[in-house]
């Protein structure tokens, strides 16, 4: 499905609630962050106050503790979780609702998850990878030996909305990340119909040098400055 048309200017939204307001029931959401770093904390808070249900969430892990993604899980808003690491001991909220049969889980290798989203963003409908061959990850997958090596056929994994975090944006939606806070955010930006980026600061176009842009503006539809930059859900 082609991305929705969005202005190349005026991408800056007044706040997180406005930026997520049109996410409908049943949406597939790509949620950035890894190990509590690069998490769109304020957008997650807005999602907790937003009525959308029956969501599919694609994110690295099943949340830590009681905040962030765990709030949405507790609210019963997530129908299915696609992640690489489900049963961290801190993901007790997820474990509880999973054990109660209230959520569907698809656990996939982290690199395959990243590459499947990269494929969605890059117009590659499917690819072969050696990751997971001969393991549970190969179950129900098409297997093909290429160059003497067993590989699995993996399909592109796109979303309706990407909810991501960056350090800096300009008004056009160009993004810059800091340190290891990029993680899944740049690839998710490319893989969703609508990408919503929470950032710490917003600058004028031209303040980010062309060579310094990490995510080009074409991938970003909405930018919001995080209301509380000290929030840490550890999602």
């Amino acid at each position: 499905m082609p991305p929705e048309k969005t202005p190349t200017q005026g991408k800056v939204y007044p706040g997180s609630p406005e930026a997520v307001a049109d996410i409908p029931d049943g949406a597939v959401i790509l949620l950035g962050g890894f190990g509590g770093v690069g998490v769109p904390e304020n957008l997650l808070v807005a999602m907790a106050d937003h009525p959308a249900r029956e969501l599919t969430v694609v994110t690295n892990h099943a949340g830590f503790g009681e905040r962030g993604l765990a709030v949405l899980l507790r609210q019963g808003k997530v129908r299915k979780l696609i992640c690489s690491y489900a049963f961290h001991r801190s993901a007790f909220v997820f474990r509880e609702i999973y054990m109660a049969g209230k959520i569907e889980l698809e656990q996939i290798p982290q690199g395959t998850m990243a590459e499947r989203m990269r494929a969605a963003g890059a117009g590659i409908p499917a690819f072969y990878t050696p990751t997971g061959a001969g393991t549970q990850a190969a179950e129900s997958k098409e297997i093909r030996t290429i160059g003497g090596r067993e590989t699995l056929l993996e399909y592109a994994l796109g979303g309706d909305f990407a909810i991501i975090k960056a350090h800096r944006a300009d008004h056009l939606g160009n993004l810059v990340y800091r340190g290891t806070a990029a993680n899944f955010n740049p690839v998710m930006a490319t893989a969703a119909r609508i990408t919503i980026a929470e950032v710490e600061e917003i600058v004028m176009p031209g303040e980010i040098a062309p060579e310094g842009v990490h995510t080009p503006s074409v991938y970003v539809d909405r930018v919001v400055r995080g209301e509380d930059l000290e929030l840490r859900s550890e999602t």
Binding site: K5, T6, P7, A122, G123, P205, S217
Partner: protein, 229 residues
């Protein structure tokens, strides 16, 4: 244009075609311009339209040609012409550029055409046996851009047709042309086939049909095909 004096007299110049195409591009589009007349389109997109031009050699937000002497040796478009970078531009390598194109993030590719078929097939990269041209990025742009605008003269220099039932030249992609701008007509491609939208001043739908192999659909009144609307 052909030897038909009526058609020749009515035909738009390349610059007029470029101006007409520029008018067709919606505000806030991301646009890739092919080599030749398509490149000229950028000159006619008015300021304030927020159109972003991207080139497959790795720039989003290319701006006008720099003044002589102010060229940056490291900044060109896919036609190998020096360009500038607008505020908010970004640069990247070929793998990322074609991920952007193939992934459907470019709204419009404006490509030169050698032939276009009734189904919107595009042939634009080579002439059989001529040992000319190359594929370049055309096949990727043709399948990757959300809409393809094609530009060509309506007829060959010898009067041969270029809007055909089926292309006879090697294809670039099947069924991708959404809008075709020739020197005498603007034709849109719907599920039913080619729709004649505009004819150059003084030409009738019959005049255009006479030099087009597929049956042209007339969805309504045919407008005037001109640089200015």
């Amino acid at each position: 244009m052909s030897s038909d004096p009526k058609l020749s007299a009515a035909a738009l110049s390349p610059e007029e075609i470029a101006r007409r195409v520029a008018r067709e591009i919606p505000d806030r589009s991301v646009v890739n311009l092919g080599i030749g007349i398509p490149t000229q389109v950028a000159n006619h997109v008015a300021l304030g339209r927020e159109v972003m031009f991207m080139a497959e050699n790795g720039i989003l937000g290319s701006g006008p040609r720099p003044a002589p002497g102010e060229e940056d040796k490291d900044l060109i478009n896919a036609s190998r012409e020096p360009v500038t970078a607008v505020p908010g531009a970004s640069v990247f390598g070929h793998a990322d550029a074609f991920a952007m194109i193939r992934g459907g993030h470019v709204d419009i590719a404006v490509l030169g055409a050698l032939q276009v078929s009734a189904a919107g097939d595009l042939a634009n990269w080579t002439v059989p046996g001529a040992g000319k041209g190359g594929i370049g990025g055309a096949m990727d742009l043709a399948v990757g851009a959300r809409e393809v605008y094609a530009i060509m003269t309506h007829l060959m220099k010898d009067g041969g047709l270029k809007l055909l039932e089926e292309c006879t030249y090697p294809l670039t992609a099947r069924g991708v042309v959404k809008k075709l701008f020739t020197d005498i007509a603007f034709i849109e491609f719907g599920p039913e086939g080619p729709l004649l939208r505009e004819a150059a001043p003084g030409l009738t739908p019959d005049d255009i049909q006479r030099v087009s192999a597929p049956k042209l659909i007339l969805p309504g009144p045919v407008g005037t095909y001109a640089a200015e609307g």
